[in-house]
Symmetry: D2
Subunit: 134 residues, 4 copies
């Protein structure tokens, strides 16, 4: 499948956001990742007392999808209070499983959204084949 309803995906990300564990930043994030199979995988940010062990919602969604056997992605929606874009680490983790063509829908709590391709957010990306060449 390649078509999907952006508003629906954003709504699922907003739902996932409600389960965020963010006692340190109070900044809650939800993500909904649409796989090639048509299934949607949710994730929220999970912080840690050792900040560096925190995970973002986007990566949590990817890890869950891989754990369920999905390997290809069509789009991801990310919802925060103010509509920030995914961090560089999340862009790279998405890149591991995508050629850059997937859509990244970034929405704020009022439902305003912007749409990027992954390639727009992570140009000149290092990709799995690069390591094998090294």
């Amino acid at each position: 499948m390649t078509d999907y309803n952006r508003a629906d995906l954003v709504a699922l990300a907003a739902e996932a956001r409600q389960r965020a564990y963010a006692p340190y930043s109070q900044f809650t994030v939800g993500a909904a990742l649409l796989g090639r199979s048509g299934k949607v995988y949710l994730g929220c940010n999970v912080e840690n007392v050792s900040y560096g062990l925190s995970v973002c919602a986007e990566r949590a969604a990817v890890f869950r999808a891989i754990g369920e056997g999905e390997r290809e992605f069509i789009a991801i929606a990310v919802v925060t209070e103010n509509g920030v874009t995914p961090c560089g680490a999340c862009r790279q983790v998405l890149q591991e499983f995508n050629d850059g063509s997937m859509e990244v829908v970034v929405a704020d709590a009022q439902g305003r959204s912007r749409v990027y391709t992954l390639a727009e957010l992570l140009p000149a990306a290092v990709i799995p084949a690069d390591l094998k060449q090294g």
Copy 2:
């Protein structure tokens, strides 16, 4: 619930291991995390071309459980070829949601297992309250 069948949890972890994405290390790991609700959450390791963006199976399971609204854990089973224990990062992520009493069942591919409490694996742990005191 506090009782559970260790062999069943190990079997679920072994199943999760089959979906590991480990093209760099070829070292596949599966985890099955038992929540207070009685539900089990699976996770596998998901590696990345930028090695530092890889996640272990144990953490993937925790992130999934939190994303589904679970906040307390009874036990985790971890299965690898040779039965290695969780890394320090995973111990710390488990600690975020536990007082150290949860069980950590470590099994190899032949089904041989050892059982620890989290406190045995992460003594003198930094805990969420420590940060608030800082």
Copy 3:
């Protein structure tokens, strides 16, 4: 200072690369980070048996620079066998201390290089102020 010699910075990164600890990937990386003060900070990748605890050369250089009191950066050079770009995590860590105008010089073992600005590598970046708005 804002002027610098790219070839000199690449040479320092190549030197740093010799101290990489990369027993798992065999993929060695060196970085040389030029601070506003004119001082250069070196870093190499440091891998870990738990892959997710590995650090890239670029981040190692940033952490070192911050540890020495530097807070603003002019440029970074990164040297690998095949001239790959920094991963998304490293781009984000550089972004924490820069407005996107710093140069990122990517070189291979034969000395061929390309130059980007950080903004070219991490468009529409999440920045520190975003979190405060959240």
Copy 4:
């Protein structure tokens, strides 16, 4: 060398702590890592707007030491306001280069300290050889 002055190492960690970049947690940490060569490597925590990209002081010190060619460690001192122990991730990164016998000196801002071996803080650790067996 195997002898060292704990108070001196703690004093160096306290000095390193002054350069911590901790705008999100306000929790500053300093570390001083003593290498086999007798040289001491300093590190501080460096946080990031994407919390998971933060690094702890202990790991920053290890990355710096490796970057300077040191490979074996005698002791590390860590100073925080309230004397918390290293997180699990830092314990694992230290373990990569040590058999567990190194000392970990944990001190608070008043200079009160406790001393552990790394093995006490990370029992039954996964070690580099485990991966090769996998």
